[in-house]
């Protein structure tokens, strides 16, 4: 009795969709089902975005010993509504010298490309819009095309800050894209599949009460940390927010955007955060699977969204803590530390794969990774000391 109830609740969205679609003639059902799912995703994540903006502002406020927005509605909860109305009614300014067509298209391309990523994310048991065999590949292809949108925005604005911001963004996103891909390859190597549903299914097993999440293995933990760093850089979040550093570039690539187009960029940034957190929890945190075997009766989608919001909280937490990097620090960190370490992690993953079951591989892999972390951090992140500058002709 309880089991069926839990199972039905787990599948409530699927059942709801099927029930709604059953009113239509049989020929239209598949299409209507897809349209319904897409509409849900398109409505749900912007809603989550609105909630996140208010919680981010309040959370940052708490981190800085203040309260945060608390004037609109109870506890300031209606602040996103006020913000939305504001951005909708603001004047939409397009610079005279801008390339109007590309300037108009850039925010749309960004949001569309980001939304495409959600198509392959399994948000619960059986809750995936398109169950592709190469879902991970598709996801990264879509993720990479956001760079195009960013550069379109920066280039078409014909503004030096926009262009500088866009160039920084592209340099940063391409550097960290490599890391993002390579850290996910470790998961693919172990699972043997690019399908995200299979990756989650592989982690949805338990030893005793503990799940087989990849983050609980040495290579998974290392991969997850590298993935998190790369994901933060991919979404242009602090401390990697150089492309939109207010103190340096006004607002970066969206300097020349106002009103609703600016809101779209903002939306795109947050949606990218959601989708990359969703992918991170799918790859390393077991996707929709429960953290303990006795909690499996809780609907799978609750677990997926809890993990997603937890990641978002960490994003906000980091934003409240860390100062912005310098461009050279960013690049050094990517190419000298994160990338070599991720490649080393790939080799450790291979070792893990071929050492077979047993405690030995735990010891060997952990030791290798810890040693590599220590040595690489020491060697490649070494601080360079410069002598005081002397000027030959000034003395």
């Amino acid at each position: 009795m309880f089991d069926t109830l839990a199972r039905n609740f787990d599948q409530i969205f699927i059942l709801l969709r099927d029930w709604l679609v059953s009113f239509l003639p049989a020929g239209m059902r598949p299409v209507a089902g897809i349209v319904l799912s897409v509409a849900t995703i398109v409505a749900l994540f912007p809603g989550l975005f609105a909630l996140t903006t208010i919680f981010e502002r309040k959370g940052l406020g708490r981190i800085q010993n203040r309260i945060g927005p608390n004037r609109v509605g109870p506890f300031g909860l209606l602040q996103p509504v006020a913000d939305g109305i504001k951005s909708l009614t603001k004047e939409d300014i397009v610079p005279v010298s801008a390339n109007a067509a590309i300037h108009f298209l850039a925010p749309l391309v960004l949001v569309v490309a980001v939304f495409m990523g959600f198509a392959v994310l399994p948000m619960g048991r059986n809750m995936v819009l398109v169950d592709m065999d190469c879902a991970l590949l598709f996801y990264f292809a879509m993720g990479a095309s956001t760079e195009l949108a960013v550069f379109m925005a920066g280039w078409s604005s014909r503004n030096k800050y926009s262009l500088l911001g866009a160039m920084r963004a592209v340099a940063q996103m391409i550097s960290y894209e490599v890391v993002l891909l390579l850290s996910s390859v470790a998961v693919v190597m172990i699972t043997g599949s690019l399908s995200l549903t299979k990756i989650v299914a592989a982690q949805d097993q338990y030893t005793g009460i503990f799940p087989h999440w990849y983050i609980f293995t040495p290579w998974g933990l290392a991969g997850f940390v590298m993935y998190a760093i790369a994901a933060t850089a991919e979404t242009n979040r602090s401390p990697f927010d150089l492309p939109e550093g207010e103190s340096e570039l006004v607002a970066g690539y969206h300097t020349e955007y106002s009103g609703f187009k600016f809101a779209l960029f903002f939306l795109g940034e947050y949606l990218a955060m959601f989708s990359i957190s969703g992918l991170g929890s799918t790859l390393f945190l077991g996707g929709w699977s429960a953290p303990f075997s006795f909690l499996q009766w809780v609907p799978s989608w609750i677990w997926f969204f809890s993990k997603l919001m937890l990641s978002i909280f960490v994003f906000i937490w980091m934003r409240g803590t860390l100062p912005r990097l310098r461009q050279d620090q960013l690049m050094n960190f990517a190419w000298k530390f994160v990338l070599p370490f991720t490649i080393f992690n790939l080799m450790v993953t291979a070792l893990w794969r071929f050492m077979g079951e047993g405690w030995l591989r735990w010891v060997v892999c952990s030791a290798l990774l810890a040693a590599a972390y220590g040595i690489m951090a020491r060697v490649s992140m070494r601080r360079e000391h410069f002598e005081p500058r002397s000027y030959r002709y000034a003395e």
Binding site: Q64, R66, I67, G320, T321
Partner: protein
């Protein structure tokens, strides 16, 4: 170790985040219009003119009769941004010590220009101009609304005692002593004059 500093920082911000729900120290915001903190005694915003209460001088309203300002115009001359404008009277009125003094017909302070430096207060020999604590001065008329005339600037001595008690008490004490001294002096002078007159009368008689 790489990343150690980041973890330390994250721990600190986490302490702030969760501490703000339980500890007053980690949530220092005062929700201003609803909650107000009492200002420090020496807080200062813009100057005002002090008048002594209970003085009568013909048709003059109380604030004008008691106004300590003698329109000596020192503050006008010292004011660095030149935000004070004074027009001296033609006639005189008695001050708190009974002496006839000029008074300001016009005394304007443009608070959009004033920089709250308190130099006018320091140079005033009559303890007439003092700093106010009133800071909610927003107006929708940015020219007329921010130009205060003498009537708008005049505040009673008891108001001054309310906002700066220590300072005002010291000045009141000093003024009372001056008053006593002046009264004694006047008495001595009048006695001397009476004696002189008596002597003169005696001499005449003799």
């Amino acid at each position: 170790m790489l990343g150690e500093g980041i973890l330390k920082g994250m721990a600190e911000t986490a302490r702030n985040f969760f501490g703000s729900f339980v500890s007053k120290e980690r949530l220092t915001t005062v929700q201003y219009p609803e909650v107000r903190e009492t200002l420090a005694e020496n807080a200062r915003v813009f100057p005002f003119l002090v008048y002594d209460e209970g003085m009568k001088d013909g048709e003059r309203p109380e604030w004008q009769a008691g106004l300590r300002c003698t329109s000596c115009q020192i503050c006008e001359k010292e004011c660095p941004p030149k935000c004070i404008f004074i027009e001296k009277s033609k006639d005189k009125k008695p001050d708190a010590f009974g002496k006839m003094q000029f008074y300001p017909v016009r005394f304007d302070i443009d608070i959009s220009v004033c920089m709250s430096c308190q130099i006018c207060v320091e140079v005033c020999p009559f303890d007439s101009i003092k700093m106010d604590k009133q800071f909610e001065l927003a107006t929708d008329d940015r020219f007329g609304g921010l130009l205060y005339d003498v009537e708008a600037l005049a505040r009673s001595n008891s108001y001054y005692n309310d906002i700066h008690p220590t300072e005002a008490a010291a000045i009141d004490k000093q003024r009372a002593e001056t008053k006593v001294m002046l009264a004694a002096k006047a008495k001595a002078a009048s006695e001397a004059a009476a004696a002189k007159a008596a002597a003169a009368a005696a001499g005449e008689g003799a």
